[in-house]
């Protein structure tokens, strides 16, 4: 099969590359990564590949590992296709498309034994990169594009499309689907379409002529995606904001949350223009900083709009003073935190779950917040809508914690659904008529109904509703106070209100298995990796129950799950085991019964992180250890508590 074309490219004096252990034929269970240079337009080629696999009906994920940089630094795109639906990140790469000489060394090392390295053979590959357990597939991509296209930018772009063509031949990706996708993209640009078609053919034909196509590890059409879409979490969350009726967004640009407001802006221009006047039924304000963004959201919500901001950890730090104000003055407001790696500036384009504890208690003094944790873009949409309802129902800031992996990567999810009977839950707001009919004075912070939630009025509605909102000490009537009892009375009531929210928040996702003695507890985007681990454990004869926490304060179903297991492994993406700490602080679970498994290196969590972590504590039948840790190119920390 695969010819080692590298020999000809470097003059035939290199040692012949031997094929390693030939992998058994495998269909619809593969992963490959493409290493390129950022700013070279590879994103559209990679997206084309991912879309084509999706349209073949195969569950697929695309993870973009990109630098905090505009142009010139290494970037990778990882595609995993898996017929069983396991699309969490994996560290086992069957193939690497090494397009960036600066990372050849690292990329070549990451291929699993028996796998393939595709590279641009227009120039020789350094001899010291040779591995005799993988197959090198050299394709003179640069030469082909120079020969066939004019202009340096076009040549660079077409080189990317060329490798798509080659991969289509090697992996058996349906070429008609690829062409259809290109037609859709370049519907209005016939010239570009022709160029793309040519580039696809060049790569495809070269691969067919020089290698045994397809490879034994390949794809085949299935019907797994009929009711699915491919979307990133930021886009889905933005759509949720549109559907929830949010009208004011204030924000400050920050990776990885920027695309949420970008998407919101796009949807608003599409759906929120007055058809007659062309004027906007929304206001999107790019603030001077995150402090101002938070203030604008709070001001808008106070005046009655559904308002939100979108930020990441560093921005949330800046907002924390205002968060305390919204908590204490009881102003409904929605904060999306698309988490990235901290502390401080950290690694802006890498993912982490490092803000769990911070969001739960953000700001000084006694503050405690409603935080919801979507696991994927589908939940980003649903929870975005829910966040506004919760914020207004409980008159408090609500945090939607996603992360870079959920927010910016492409996920295959079931189609989003909408019930046209939905109406926003605006919570307890007195109308002008009710205020007009009122027999006594309005008191903003009086617990009239005994549920800890007072009634609210909006500015401009009625003179009887007036009150002064303040972050300073206030009593139940809304008056300024520095007296002990009236102050404590309000603070205790606000505390009860947040406690009372717990049963109304998203319940944990729980999957129980007969005979399970251990619990795997996780949060957010770790879902896919942990569910894959549950399956892998079953294969090894171990049964494990699964619970994913979806909100804070903790839902009443959480504690019984923890109590039902002698040991619960709490799996999350931060150094300190923040979810575990919260569970210890906020439930009666035994500390010793919560064992931490952590990975916080900045890439999305993989199944092997979970398995490696478990192996440190229990006998899982096989060591899945250091091989993959090394393959990650980063340490895979996850020590026991």
């Amino acid at each position: 099969m695969a010819v080692d074309n590298r020999l000809s490219a470097i003059g035939g004096d290199a040692p012949a590359s031997t094929n390693g252990e030939r992998p058994a034929p495998r269909v619809n269970d593969l992963a490959f990564k493409i290493g390129t240079v950022n700013g070279t337009g590879s994103a559209s080629a990679n997206g084309l590949l991912r879309s084509a696999i999706f349209r073949m009906g195969i569950p697929v994920s695309g993870k973009n590992l990109f630098p905090s940089n505009i142009q010139g630094l290494p970037t990778w795109y990882e595609i995993r296709a898996n017929g069983d639906g396991h699309t969490a990140r994996t560290a086992r790469f069957d193939m690497v498309v090494a397009m960036n000489p600066a990372t050849y060394e690292r990329d070549v090392k990451e291929v699993t034994p028996g796998g393939w390295v595709m590279y641009d053979s227009s120039w020789p590959l350094p001899r010291d990169l040779d591995r005799n357990d993988v197959t090198f597939l050299g394709i003179p991509l640069a030469k082909m594009t120079v020969d066939n296209f004019k202009g340096s930018r076009v040549r660079i772009l077409m080189k990317n499309i060329c490798y798509v063509g080659a991969l289509a031949a090697l992996l058996d990706i349906d070429l008609d689907i690829v062409r259809t996708l290109l037609k859709e993209t370049f519907a209005a640009k016939a010239k570009l379409l022709d160029a793309n078609f040519l580039a696809i053919d060049l790569g495809y034909d070269y691969a067919r002529e020089h290698f045994d196509c397809p490879l034994p590890v390949r794809l085949a059409p299935m019907d797994g995606n009929e009711d699915s879409i491919v979307i990133d979490g930021n886009t889905a969350a933005a759509l949720g904001c549109v559907y929830a009726g949010a009208t004011v967004a204030a924000w400050y640009p920050i990776t990885p949350s920027t695309s949420l407001v970008d998407a919101f802006t796009g949807f608003c221009h599409q759906f929120r223009k007055d058809p007659e006047t062309g004027r906007n039924r929304f206001a999107i304000i790019q603030a001077e900083d995150e402090l101002a963004a938070a203030g604008m959201v709070i001001g808008a919500a106070w005046a009655g709009a559904r308002a939100f901001t979108s930020t990441s950890g560093a921005g949330l730090s800046l907002m924390s003073e205002f968060i305390g104000l919204a908590y204490y003055a009881e102003v409904p407001s929605v904060f999306f935190d698309v988490q990235r790696v901290g502390p401080s500036t950290g690694m802006p384009t890498r993912t982490q779950q490092g803000d769990i504890q911070f969001a739960a208690y953000a700001s000084h003094g006694d503050t405690r917040h409603i935080v919801i944790f979507p696991a994927n873009p589908h939940e980003c949409f649903d929870f975005a809508v829910g966040a506004f309802d919760l914020a207004e129902r409980f008159q408090t800031p609500v945090f939607v914690l996603t992360d870079l992996d959920i927010g910016m990567n492409d996920w295959v999810i079931p189609k989003l659904e909408w019930d046209d009977s939905y109406r926003p839950d605006r919570g307890k707001v007195l109308t002008a008529e009710e205020l007009e009919a009122a027999t006594g004075p309005f008191h903003r912070y009086l617990d009239v109904d005994g549920d800890g939630i007072p009634w609210r009025t909006l500015p401009g509605v009625h003179p009887n509703g007036a009150y002064l909102t303040r972050g300073s000490g206030h009593d139940r009537y809304g008056n300024y106070t520095e007296d002990s009892e009236p102050y404590a009375d309000v603070l205790a009531r606000v505390g009860r209100k947040i406690d009372g929210a717990a049963p109304h928040l998203p319940a944990p996702e729980i999957r129980l298995r007969d005979g399970a003695k251990i619990g795997l507890v996780t949060i957010g985007g770790c879902r896919g990796a942990v569910l894959e681990a549950v399956d892998e454990l079953v294969e090894r004869g171990i049964e494990a129950d699964y619970m994913r926490v979806r909100a804070f304060p903790f839902h009443p179903d959480i504690e019984p799950f923890l109590a039902a297991h002698e040991v619960n492994f709490v799996i999350e993406q931060n150094r300190d085991g923040q979810l575990r700490k919260l569970l210890i602080a906020e439930t009666d679970a035994e500390k010793a019964a919560l064992v931490s498994i952590r990975y916080y290196g900045g890439y999305p969590m993989s199944c092997h992180h979970v398995m490696d972590g478990l192996a440190r504590h229990i006998d899982i039948g096989a060591d899945s250890g250091p091989r993959e840790a090394a393959a990650l190119g980063a340490a895979a920390p996850g020590a026991a508590p």
Binding site: I298, W302, L458
Partner: protein, 356 residues
Amino acid sequence: MSYIKKPRVHHPGLTRNRLGLTRRDYEGTMSTLCAGCGHDSITAAIIEAFWELEIAPHEVAKTSGIGCSGKTPTYFLKEAHGFNGVHGRMPSITTGAHAANRELVCIGVSGDGDSLSIGMGQFAHVVRRNVDMLYIIENNGVYGLTKGQFSASADVGSTAKRGQVNREHPIDSVLLSLNLGAGFVARSFSGDKEQLVPILKAGLRHRGFALIDVISPCVTFNDHRGSTKSYQYTRDNYNQLVYADFVPPAEEIAASFEAGDVRSVQMHDGSRIAFRKVPDDYDPTDRDQVYGYIRERQRAGEVATGLLYVEEAPQEGEHSDFHGLQATVDEPLSSYPFEDLCPGADTLERLQERFR
């Protein structure tokens, strides 16, 4: 401060405006500021301005930051919603409220510490965004609640109560907002209600951002000899550079001024500002000239006051205030019908073809 509760019953003979409201209806709770505080005089002028303009109190949103100035919204318009937020962040709260409900009449009260130190960024950007609001800086040159530290508006050479001399260059909110493009810039003095009330009225009616920096002496920490923000110093160096009257849409400019002295500037709602006794070489609509003139008066040691600069309202096309720039609908976003905001299930179904 005073501990006397305000009487609930009003004298039947109090004058009523066309809404049937007396000045008392525009008051708030009793001030807890020091007796003689300039801020209380400004509060009285605010009450007078709203009463004269016949604005229904509940249509107003009054906002403030932290400090003595931050307390004052409690003292006027008890039937208006107020928001006493966090230090230096009144502009963002107001921007949000105005974005949500453009029908609210927004008045923000801030101080020199609140606006020119901790809130400098938000101050600059609320000017830039041209939020339709009246922005008052109650300027006394010191931090009162923390007992007399210099603020960023303290002049070089001004002394603190215990004798320390300020050496740092002051930030002048009037010059700054001229630079930032504010369309309405004024300076006044808490002790000159006759000048202040018409400026407040004009500021409230100005569409877009209106700044009034009011010298408002702190009787407790900055009213001594050596201070440049004392009552005495301000009176001694006071220069009523510009006299301006606010003329509501329906009224004619009072005939008592000699015709040659009057320069009238049209405002967005049809009202006018009538300038009189403007210096010969002074054009209150020429930003650069105004800037230079104020600098010149400051070098001469004078406190130049009045409605110093006003931009004439654009007569056609989209207004360049916040909502003009945002191109928002006329109706408040806060009460916009949900049915017209949510695209619905069918649209979602169609939209998702894009994600396949």
